[in-house]
């Protein structure tokens, strides 16, 4: 009896000293570190830093939206001020040209006041155009560099959550189309945007219908190229995802049933535990995906606001110029708005390709 009591007491003392606490929260951080979460945080562009937001904070949607909203609010004031200054310049020139218009009615002698107005507007807009092009190139370079760090990690998380085949297929497609997009944008679309500006200036200065058609053709070509790339990527990833996701879902189900039936007592528990781990990785995958989308939004938001405000303000200035100055001054102002829209479309298409890549990897279904 005494021996039994001694044994029980010893067991209680040993249990008190040798038990270890369970820290479920550390597993998530370890998983993130294993998947390369540090690389993603380091790759966030300087322009998109969101008050020290971490990947694990991304699931708090309220804070995420608030950070983006604050950034947008700050950028909007600058964008409107810059746009208003440009509009004032156009309005001044249009008002001066309206004096000449009183003397040279439409269809009369060549209106050199209008010609000078067109050239003045082109010259005044040139600095803004160059700075927006440079901003667009920087933003797209930042987004592509960030996606190169984000997508492999996201693909690894998707693979770890059970979607082995589909994550590999989608990652390969994303990497391929991202490279195609970068090449096409830098070698074809940007030169086309420069050409659109130059042809628009010449067409409005000279008043040539042929050059008008050339400018129209260039605008259509830019729109077509961006649409085709975005559409081809969407279709390819969707179709390849359907086949590979089915295979992944089947593989996970088969594995679970094999494990639970092969091991007599603990098979079911192991299978359920594995399912819980997969679910945990899925949550992490979603957090990485939301973080990626947030960073891309934060990167794009300022140039979107600048270009969007510039586009709308120049459109309004073109309407004013049509009322007071001649058709060519109004057309020149409208052409500059179209150039800003083309730049905005290029940044938007890049963002859409990356968004779709992120969303398709986050939404990989593993059963």
């Amino acid at each position: 009896m005494k021996n039994a009591l001694r044994i029980i007491l010893a067991a209680l003392v040993l249990t008190a000293f040798f038990t270890v606490a369970a820290h479920a929260g550390e597993i998530e951080n370890e998983q993130l570190e294993t998947l390369g979460g540090d690389m993603i945080s380091d790759a966030v562009p300087d322009s998109a830093q969101l008050d020290g937001m971490e990947i694990t904070d991304a699931l708090d949607s309220e804070n995420t939206f608030r950070s983006l909203f604050e950034r947008a609010k700050g950028g909007l004031t600058d964008a409107l001020l810059a746009g208003a200054k440009s509009a004032l310049a156009v309005v001044s020139v249009a008002a001066i040209c309206s004096l000449g218009g009183a003397i040279f009615p439409d269809g009369g002698e060549i209106n050199y006041a209008e010609l000078a107005g067109v050239i003045a507007i082109a010259s005044l807009s040139a600095a803004g155009f160059k700075s927006y092009i440079s901003e667009a190139q920087t933003v797209m370079s930042d987004m592509n560099a960030f996606s190169k760090a984000l997508l492999p990690t996201l693909a690894a998380a998707a693979s770890a959550s059970g979607a082995v085949t589909s994550s590999a297929v989608k990652f390969a497609a994303s990497a391929l189309f991202a490279d195609i997009f970068i090449t096409v944008t830098s070698d074809i679309v940007m030169p086309l945007i420069y050409a659109l500006f130059a042809v628009s200036v010449c067409s409005c200065a000279v008043g040539s219908a042929a050059l008008d058609k050339v400018a129209g053709a260039i605008k259509k070509a830019i729109k077509l190229i961006l649409t085709v790339i975005a559409l081809a990527f969407t279709v390819y990833v969707s179709l390849s995802g359907i086949v590979s996701e089915t295979a992944d879902a089947a593989a996970v189900k088969v594995t679970k049933s094999v494990v639970s039936s092969a091991l007599p007592v603990v098979g079911g528990m192991i299978s359920d535990a594995a399912g819980a781990v997969l679910a945990g990785i899925s949550t992490l995958k979603s957090a990485i995906g939301i973080f990626g989308v947030t960073v891309i939004c934060a990167t794009c938001i300022t140039p979107f606001l600048h270009l969007g405000a510039g586009f709308l303000i120049y459109k309004a200035a073109a309407m004013f110029a049509e009322c007071v100055a001649g058709a060519r001054v109004s057309k020149m102002t409208d052409a500059i708005a179209s150039v800003y829209a083309a730049i905005l479309g290029t940044i938007g298409a890049d963002a859409i390709v990356i968004f779709f890549a992120i969303i398709s990897l986050v939404r990989t279904v593993s059963g």
Binding site: L88, S92, L99, F104, A120, A126, F197, V201
Partner: protein, 128 residues
């Protein structure tokens, strides 16, 4: 408003008087019309001058270079002067002189706008 009405009245009255005098003395009629046109132009110049000052202050607020605005203003001024001079020649029945004045006005406008055109061509060249 009052001086605008006076200017318009002056132009109208001088035109009517010019018609009346034209039968007997066409050259005096011409001189009368030219004198009235100059008076109305002088009135217009004072208004345009104030407008130009406002537009300059607007362009200063917009951060536009004064050179661009002054080039456009000069082009408009040359166009107005050339147009009025050529119409006076046409009224006198000398179309050849009118065409020469218009050609001179066009050439002068292009010459004044030359620095702006050179800047734009240089900018287009750097883009391409």
């Amino acid at each position: 408003m009052e001086f605008l009405l006076k200017a318009m009245l002056l132009a109208g009255v001088s035109s009517v008087l010019g018609l009346a005098i034209k039968k007997n003395s066409p050259e005096i009629a011409m001189l009368l019309v030219i004198a009235a046109s100059c008076a109305v132009l002088a009135a217009a110049a004072s208004v345009i001058g104030r407008l130009a000052d406002f537009l300059r202050s607007l362009s200063d607020t917009a951060g536009v270079s004064a050179q661009s605005i002054s080039i456009v203003l000069k082009t408009v001024g040359i166009g107005i002067a050339a147009k009025i001079a050529s119409d006076v020649c046409r009224d006198a029945g000398h179309s050849a002189a009118a065409a020469s004045v218009e050609l001179l006005g066009s050439a002068a406008s292009l010459y004044v706008a030359l620095p702006l055109m050179q800047a734009v061509l240089k900018m287009i060249g750097s883009l391409i």
